[in-house]
């Protein structure tokens, strides 16, 4: 199949043919270009202006002043750091738990279908609703379940959202994305040729060796794919932060999305917020390039198969 997909030789196609090839692609491509690249260009333009909504009179061209403000703004860098911590933390947690669950739920046992179904449900729950519920019914030291659990364990009650705010955000986002990681990894496991495991069994390998020597190497591209998909989504975390901590305390949970939001729609400083956005974009591209290369590696492997 792949051979067909890539086999048609572009060199031979006539001009008319090449347009009839491109026509089905164009609407989607044009819309995606318009919705992602036009804002990008406008952001560059805005970022060179002094533009605060609260002072409509003073909108003017200001050169690179907003960038200077961005690079010297400690909170901006802190928010970048928070974004990295939250994205990496929740990705690792979701993948670790997701992997264990995928391995368990891939084996056959009574009620497996139901167990799978229950396990993937958190992914579908509306995040805003979940955050509101977690806030009052889970995290709250006076009203929440976690307070009761720490009491049971004889531990002091934890001020989750004040003192462990990053942990709390990581916890709730991991809860949402673990099922997703599990889904992808489960699919990866199902695609595993049986002979591989069998070979390992015949060799008398223990489960750890099976895992290390057979399952993990096989899963590697899937783990990479999962990591990519998760971090792509987790980098955009917004609702949980807005509803649980308002980015606090001391910007301790302000990620870059939330910080741009604060700057743009709370301080109404559109100029600086645009500069933040642009610097973030450049940093993200720098980070995403290796990720994309990784992804294309996964697909090249596919081609070889």
């Amino acid at each position: 199949m792949t051979a067909i997909a890539t086999g048609a030789s572009p060199a031979k196609t006539t001009r008319r043919g090449s347009w009839s090839r491109r026509a089905p692609l164009l609407p989607a491509l044009v819309i995606t270009l318009a919705l992602t690249q036009i804002p990008f260009v406008l952001t560059i333009w805005y970022s060179l202006q002094r533009w605060n909504l609260l002072n409509p009179g003073e909108r003017s061209f200001t050169g690179l002043a907003n960038y200077q403000a961005t690079f010297t703004d400690g909170t901006f860098w802190k928010s970048i750091g928070n974004t990295v911590v939250l994205t990496a933390g929740a990705t690792v947690v979701s993948m670790a738990i997701g992997l264990v669950l995928a391995i368990l739920l891939q084996k056959k046992f009574p009620g497996r279908g139901l167990a799978r179904t229950l396990a993937i449900t958190p992914f579908f729950i509306m995040p805003v609703a979940a955050a509101l519920f977690w806030r009052s019914a889970m995290f709250d030291p006076s009203f929440g379940l976690l307070g009761w659990l720490t009491d049971l364990a004889g531990l002091p009650r934890v001020s989750w959202l004040s003192e462990q705010s990053m942990l709390s955000i990581t916890l709730i986002t991991s809860w949402r994305w673990t099922p997703f990681a599990m889904l992808v990894l489960l699919a990866g496991l199902q695609a595993m040729p049986d002979e591989q495991i069998e070979a390992a069994r015949v060799d008398g390998a223990g489960w750890w060796w099976q895992f290390r020597g057979v399952i993990l190497p096989h899963l590697r591209p899937f783990l990479e794919l999962t990591a990519l998909l998760l971090s792509m989504n987790l980098i955009q975390t917004f609702g949980e932060i807005a509803l649980l901590t308002a980015g606090g305390p001391a910007y301790g949970t302000t990620n870059i999305t939330y910080y741009v939001y604060l700057r743009a729609f709370n301080s109404f400083d559109f100029g600086t917020a645009s500069a933040y956005g642009l610097v973030t974009l450049v940093l993200t591209i720098a980070l995403a390039m290796p990720a994309l290369r990784l992804l294309s590696g996964i697909f090249r492997q596919e081609g070889r198969r």
Partner: protein
């Protein structure tokens, strides 16, 4: 579709055949521990939702107790109230945004995926990576121009602006997913579909699309879920003509106990997507691999 259960052809080790001939060879050794652990893990993930369901039937006073109260006077009051206070307006918008943006996503993504797999344009791989790279752009980087342009086009606080943005948000993913499903279609069918000639669209419509229908449903589902749950655009670009996540956030602000009420509303708004998700589980799994493996 044959891909979901590759183990179906596996030959079980003869000594271990008991009730199910299709069981994989490594399964019996650790069957009960696996069952227990698997169930524990699933229940742990599900427990906050179970807890939410429980609280949704409690009075606010019962729901405010940190210790889970299992015995209580159940009430349906919160479900009744859930549908008041403008719920339907927001729910209608949510449905409109999710359904319309998803239909548009499919309408645009199917031809694009076709042009990237069955009858590929030059540099198809690069185009494909362009699509996915847009998903890596931080949404925050574009929100200001989006806001300003939407305002100039008089689109603020309309369902239209959300439809357009959700379309942009879900289109790249859909192109990838549908492309991966197209790649699973048997070669001869695609060859026919790839041939020049007037009946190409017909082959596409009458043979290829039915073949990938489960995949289309899975793509539609994922697009719906992301659209249904989307909060950032909704909260920044709309207020009254907005979707359910914006409706939900209001509960934070009355200073009343709201746990049980939120639990009920959260249940109501989550049920549709959860059920769809359960139904489409299998094709969803495959779609999420983006054709990385077959």
């Amino acid at each position: 579709m044959t891909v979901t259960t590759p183990q179906s052809t596996a030959v079980a080790a003869p000594a271990e055949i008991r009730a199910e001939p299709r069981r994989r060879p490594d399964m019996d050794t650790a069957r009960w521990p696996v069952a227990v652990l698997g169930w524990l893990g699933s229940l742990l993930l599900f427990s906050p939702i179970a807890y939410m369901l429980l609280k949704s039937f409690q009075s606010e006073i019962d729901a405010a107790s940190p210790a889970p109260r299992l015995i209580f006077q159940p009430t349906l009051g919160h479900y009744r109230d859930a549908f008041g206070a403008g719920f339907w307006a927001y729910a209608g918008n949510s449905i409109a945004v999710a359904v319309v943006s998803t239909i548009l996503v499919l309408v645009l993504a199917v031809p694009a995926a076709y042009a990237l797999s069955v009858r590929p344009v030059p540099k198809a791989q690069d185009v494909l990576f362009f699509f996915i790279s847009t998903k890596m752009m931080p949404i925050a980087a574009g929100i200001i121009p989006i806001y300003v342009v939407a305002q100039q086009l008089n689109l603020l606080n309309t369902v239209t602006v959300l439809i357009i943005l959700h379309l942009g948000m879900n289109l790249p993913l859909a192109v990838w997913m549908i492309r991966s499903f197209l790649q699973e279609v048997p070669g001869e069918v695609l060859e026919a579909a790839a041939m020049d000639g007037a009946d190409r669209p017909r082959i596409m419509r009458s043979i290829v699309l039915p073949l990938i229908r489960p995949g289309l449903w899975a793509t539609a589902l994922l697009s719906c879920v992301f659209s249904w749950n989307e909060y950032f655009y909704a909260v920044n670009l709309t207020t009254t003509a907005s979707t359910l996540p914006v409706f939900m956030q209001k509960f934070l602000s009355f200073g009343e106990l709201y746990t049980a009420q939120v639990a009920a509303v959260a249940t109501v708004v989550s049920v549709p997507v959860v059920i769809l998700g359960w139904i489409c589980q299998r094709s969803l799994v495959r779609g999420l691999l983006f054709g990385a493996v077959k």
